[in-house]
Amino acid sequence: MMVSLDGVMQAPGGPEEDTSGGFKYGGWTYAYSDEAMGEIITKELSMPFDLLLGRKTYEIWSAYWPKQTGSIADPFNKAKKYVVSGKGVDLTWKESILIDGDVVAKLKALKAEDGPQLHVWGSSVLLQTLLKNDLVDELRLRIYPITLGSGKRLFAEGTIPAAFELLDSTALPSGVILANYKRAGEVKTGSVA
């Protein structure tokens, strides 16, 4: 998840990616996409994965990625795409599978099956369902050194009390912080006074 310091995840890739809500800052990761970031992304996409996407992200991606080739496009095009949508969606992208109806039950069943990791990109609305139902095993955050003020947020109405274990953290020279968390138990409280 590419996210600003103030938790905005909308349209990281380009000005036309998602202008809903009058969002003016599409492409806010551009200034930080150097060789170091490229190496991280390539490494991540070199492991086997399938994609789990919400409808809006799927619509944006299915219009873009099939026309591209390369070290990022090829793994995305090759992976299975599980698309969550209550309203129905045009499955134009190769290897796309619709998940509708009792989404939470179906996702639990999907996770229980054998298969590669399910990676969620974008999908701010679906994410709230995943978080609320404790379906997220790992959070891989790429925290950019900017605030945006408004836009679709990563942590919106879906978060629940949950603790995580920090698996890995790296500060890139550009200032982007990578922090990979694993879901690990409950929130503990106490008094520090």
Binding site: D34, E35, A36, G38, E39, T170, A171, L172, P173, S174
Partner: protein, 195 residues
């Protein structure tokens, strides 16, 4: 105020060069790999990656050891990447070597203090970088002249070679961390000396 910065790469086991440094292998056996992080994805002197930019931008003068110059003069070519005066610590005097693009090599025979004084005059308000070799680095550390240390720890073991932090006569010194980042197979550590 101009800063004096040591900017060097070493392996995780502390070597600034591999064994058997010679003209055919200026970084010693296996030592070429130490600098690979600088040239990832085709960064060249013409289109530097972010770190090369940091090594070369806003630097008013360089200081280096004689041996480093002797080994580097030919590979650096007619237009070396420094584009600034480079003061060379040398036992023997030698006339200045002027290259294209603003790089010149000026030989200094009165030690680290002499080199620093000339470098400060040349650099004005810009910073000065001690760029190698290990011997020159050790002399500056021992003389207590450095303001900052930029050490790039390449994610590799060399096993043997020229240790960067050898022959130090300093008392134990705590460093103040400026920034630690990771990229391209090396961890980049910037420290300030507590004066």
């Amino acid at each position: 105020m101009s800063k004096l910065i040591l900017n060097m790469t070493m392996s995780l086991d502390g070597f600034a060069a591999g064994p058997n440094v010679r003209p055919e292998e200026p970084m010693g056996n296996g030592g070429e790999e130490l600098h690979r992080w600088m040239f990832k994805n085709g960064s060249t002197d013409e289109s530097p990656g972010k770190f090369q930019a940091e090594f070369f931008e806003n630097i008013g003068a360089y200081i280096m050891g004689r041996r480093t110059l002797d080994l580097g003069l030919e590979p650096w070519g007619e237009n070396p990447p420094y584009h600034a005066p480079c003061f060379v610590l040398s036992e023997e005097p030698h006339e200045t070597i002027t290259k294209q693009g603003g790089t010149s090599f000026i030989f200094v025979t009165d030690g680290v203090h002499g080199a620093l004084k000339q470098a400060q005059e040349a650099a004005g308000s810009k910073d000065i970088v001690v760029m190698g070799g290990a011997n020159a680095a050790q002399q500056f550390i021992n003389a207590g002249l450095l303001d900052e240390l930029y050490i790039h720890v390449a994610h590799m073991l060399l096993g043997s070679g020229t240790r960067l932090f050898d022959n130090l006569t300093i008392k134990p010194a705590e460093l103040e961390k400026i920034a630690v980042t990771d990229a391209l197979g090396a961890t980049h550590m910037k420290f300030r000396f507590r004066k």
